[in-house]
């Protein structure tokens, strides 16, 4: 029996899982409509979660302050999601239901998510589609005018709604337009080009933020009755990832340092179908939709270091390793399995391309069977994108792909109300840990961001506000002054080192450590090495980083320097969490814990829990707190894809 930490009360409502959310909403404290405008709520982030939350809370009548690091809220990285959004509408009459979506998500997460949260997510999925359509999102349609669906990984029903390959963009623009309507109405005030650098606590409660105006360098303070963090995930700790170059963990990390527990930091998702690194100087990796594996066959040469062009390698000298290892699922094996298999092939010396770190994704057989025009119709835009980036024509030669960090399931610990362990501080979307367990299914990230933003937080926040009336607190309070001082001190320190290595050089090095030792496959000696490597890199960072410029100006090198300092700390915590979790589950694969066939082996007796880390101060070891996971509705089973 895993003992529950007293800090981690998930506040899951009583009753059968189907009734929890409805009962909870019925018992939540409310704020009178006339009083709502007296409350100020800060929302940091304008992606699907943050944008939808700010818009909806503005509609309700709260006074909302909304911040983003980009020049416009419309640029948040949710914009880049391609595939689609899941919803249990059952428009296809193929047997889908809230229960099935719930079940698929819990199983897909390898039984490391909270049942009650996932059920609520599945319940709200249908409302998201209604809301988005009303906002004018041009989803794909059938000739009769009804909404179209497609299938996606990890499900046997067709429940994914999409807008070409730009679903994230269209949903984000839907939330953005709702947000701009509230800006128009004067209920939301927008602060673009602001980076949150601290959360301010007064008597243990979140009461505001400190941020840096990225255009002028000015350090600004804002007070509020509650603070919501919706600042996304931390895949950029790996330097190269599919995330945007400004994605970072700083807002979440500063909350952690103020006492918000950080849950399951080792749960990261490495996506199998991305463009491989082309050489030094690369700044990011590009995702190619997973749908390509429907018709593409993954292979490497049977001979190590075979430098022949792919067309000259005869059929019997190729190893179609996914088909060989996983005959039942073949090239459609799940993300974590496929990624690991590609890495193993390359690590063993069978990789292809100039760096030896890529595998072929070959469409020759499908083109032969279906004809070029069918393939063009299915994947034309992806083939064009690949051609554009690599200068190689995938109709003539196989694509080269390699896995890349894509999404982080871990994040700030939240209870059922999305409140962190700091009263009045909430975390939404990818920034929290709650719904995806150890592995996220395709088309579920958009669903969670919008569920949190449109429906969950606007309902749950009133429960807290009703108990905490506005008290006229302003940024003149000492807590703000102290926080500003600490922020300025760090900026001064970063600018003062004036060493010889740039922030980017450090980031590349950290990324290499994380990728090799805290990446797709992890083991005890490697993780211990990673921890000491990161500690050494951190020591060097504070002695030898060169930032350049001044604070009182636009200075992107300084922005990245602050984020880098946090990545060094977060990277170490990820390694420590991965070390502590002596089992394999979902995206967390510990080589010591695998079945005879090389599959992830969970240790449910010991690790069927959330690990949430508490910051104990500079140079002190963080403390692990456990929240046991109880599965009352879904039976724990071992996954198999043979």
């Amino acid at each position: 029996m895993i003992a529950k930490s007293p800090l981690l009360d998930a506040k899951i409502p009583d009753g059968p899982i189907q009734e929890k959310w409805a009962n909870h909403k019925a018992s939540i404290g409310l704020v009178n409509p006339a009083n709502k405008r007296k409350y100020t709520i800060i929302v940091v982030g304008t992606g699907l979660a943050g944008g939808a939350a700010a818009a909806t809370m503005g509609e309700l009548g709260y006074n909302v302050l909304n911040f983003c690091i980009q020049d416009s809220p419309r640029r948040a990285h949710s914009v880049a999601a391609q595939g689609g959004i899941n919803a249990a509408k059952n428009y296809q009459n193929d047997g889908d239901s809230v229960w099935r979506l719930f079940y698929d998500t819990v199983k897909g997460g390898d039984y490391r998510a909270r049942e009650a949260n996932v059920y609520r997510l599945a319940e709200l999925s249908a409302n998201i589609i209604d809301q988005s359509v009303a906002a004018g999102v041009p989803f794909a349609r059938e000739y009769g005018g009804t909404l179209a669906n497609r299938s996606f990984g990890g499900a046997q029903v067709s429940r994914t709604f999409y807008a070409r390959g730009q679903t994230g963009q269209q949903l984000l623009l839907g939330a953005y337009s709702a947000l701009m309507r509230q800006v128009d109405a004067g209920r939301v005030k927008l602060f673009a080009r602001r980076e949150m650098l601290d959360v301010v606590l007064v008597e243990g409660r979140a009461r505001g933020i400190v941020c840096r105006n990225l255009a002028t360098g000015e350090i600004e303070t804002y007070a509020a009755d509650a603070v919501c963090i919706a600042t996304g995930g931390y895949s950029t700790v790996y330097f190269l990832s599919t995330n945007a170059v400004n994605c970072n963990a700083t807002a979440a990390w500063r909350c952690y340092k103020k006492g918000a527990l950080f849950a399951n930091p080792c749960f990261t998702q490495i996506h199998p179908t991305c463009l491989p690194q082309a050489g030094e100087g690369q700044s990011k990796l590009t995702l190619m939709s997973e749908s390509l594996r429907n018709d593409g066959r993954v292979w490497v040469p049977k001979k190590k270091g075979d430098k022949r062009p792919p067309q000259e390698i005869p059929e019997d000298e190729r190893d179609y390793f996914l088909e060989r290892k996983y005959p039942a699922f073949g090239n459609l094996a799940p993300r974590d399995i496929s990624s690991r298999a590609a890495k193993e092939a390359c690590d063993a010396g069978y990789g292809v391309g100039p760096t030896g770190f890529s595998v072929y994704l070959d469409f020759a057989e499908a083109i032969g069977r279906l004809g070029e025009s069918v393939i063009r119709e299915r994947y034309g835009n992806l083939f064009a994108m690949y051609h554009e980036i690599t200068d190689e024509n995938p109709f003539k030669q196989p694509m080269r792909i390699y896995p890349a960090p894509h999404y982080t399931m871990g994040g700030i610990w939240v209870d059922y109300n999305l409140m962190t362990t700091i009263p009045g501080l909430y975390a939404l979307g990818e920034a929290n840990f709650s719904d995806h367990g150890a592995n996220r299914l395709g088309a579920s990230a958009l669903m969670q961001g919008l569920a949190d933003g449109y429906f969950v937080i606007p309902a749950t926040i009133s429960d807290f506000l009703a108990e905490h009336r506005p008290d006229g607190l302003t940024t003149n309070h000492d807590a703000f002054t102290e926080s500003v001082k600490a922020v300025q001190e760090q900026v001064k320190q970063l600018l003062g080192v004036n060493g010889s290595k740039t922030v980017r050089e450090f980031h590349v090095e950290l990324g290499r450590i994380m990728w090799e030792k805290v990446g797709m496959a992890r083991n005890e000696p490697g993780l211990k090495e990673a921890i000491s490597d990161i500690q050494a890199l951190r020591d060097e960072y504070w002695k030898n980083v060169r930032v350049g410029g001044v604070n009182e100006d636009m200075n992107k090198s300084l922005e990245f320097a602050g984020r880098m300092a946090d990545f060094l700390d977060l990277g170490e915590l990820m390694a420590q969490d991965a070390l502590e979790r002596a089992e394999s589950c979902g995206g967390h694969f510990r080589e010591e814990y695998q079945t005879e066939d090389g599959e992830a082996l969970r240790e449910d007796d010991k690790f069927c829990h959330v690990t949430a880390w508490e910051y104990k101060g500079e140079g002190q070891a963080p403390e692990a707190h456990l929240e046991p996971l109880e599965f009352e509705n879904v039976k724990l089973t071992q996954r198999s894809y043979k």
Binding site: A80, Q166, D184
Partner: protein, 248 residues
């Protein structure tokens, strides 16, 4: 390979600004254009000079953050392409490449290549939405929208708000940007209720922000990384006329 980058440097909005030329070495052809600029900045930092500020984020052509005028053309010479999607293999070894910010009265320079495009946000907040509060939407399939209509609306909705249309226009008009949003909503039934008011307000806001008028050069369509058609400008004009004549 190596290139010379002749780049616009400007301390702030009040500074007149000037060109500086920097050599960049160690480029590989697979690099993107922005990675070449990253390399330039690394080399500047190492030499103790201040890096050239430029905006970018997703680096895969969807967020609309990046936007440079390269050799006189917004987002460079390639069609249907953002700055971040350009590759160095399309440039010659030893070439001099001129890089400037998007220039327009409506886009004041913040520093170097970074401009303030918040005017676009203000235009959207002047009606670029449907007034439907969260929770009040009917079932999504209640509203039947023919496939062709949805596709047409999507053709306009793909706008990434980068501002290349403004930068490419001799009048610095934002008509393609505004026309795309007005089109999306005027094609869809969801936009019907506020159709006239929206068109009038958005167009008036565009004028207030200091953007010029459209005189049919169609440079915007050529520069648009998402190939949005100027048909949307024609639709904007019709919607505006209808709105202005019938809306009190």
């Amino acid at each position: 390979m190596k290139v010379q980058v002749k780049v616009w440097r400007q301390k702030n909005a009040d500074d007149p600004g000037r060109f500086e030329t920097y050599p960049v070495e160690g480029i590989i052809p697979e690099m993107s254009f922005l990675e070449m600029l990253d390399l330039m900045n690394e080399q500047l930092l190492k030499r103790g000079e201040s890096p050239v500020e430029f905006d970018s984020d997703c680096r895969e052509g969807i967020c609309g953050t990046c936007g440079l005028v390269i050799n006189g053309m917004a987002h460079g010479p390639k069609c249907a392409c953002t700055t971040c999607e350009l590759r160095m293999r399309d440039y010659q070894d030893g070439e001099t490449i001129t890089v400037e910010p998007f220039r327009a009265q409506g886009f004041p320079v913040i520093k170097d290549l970074v401009v303030d495009r918040s005017a676009f946000d203000r235009i959207i907040s002047a009606g670029g939405y449907t007034s439907v509060n969260t929770g009040s939407a009917p079932d999504a399939n209640v509203l039947l929208i023919p496939k062709d209509t949805a596709e047409k609306a999507m053709d306009a909705a793909v706008c990434i708000g980068c501002g290349a249309c403004v930068a490419a226009c001799p009048n610095a008009s934002a008509s393609l940007f505004v026309g795309a949003k007005i089109s999306q909503f005027s094609l869809l039934p969801q936009g019907e209720a506020e159709r006239k008011r929206r068109a009038v307000r958005m167009v008036e806001q565009m004028d207030r922000e200091g953007f010029g008028n459209c005189s049919n050069h169609a440079e915007c369509e050529a520069a648009c990384p998402k190939s949005i058609s100027i048909e949307n400008i024609a639709r904007m004009r019709r919607e505006y006329m209808k709105g202005a004549l019938t809306e009190a």
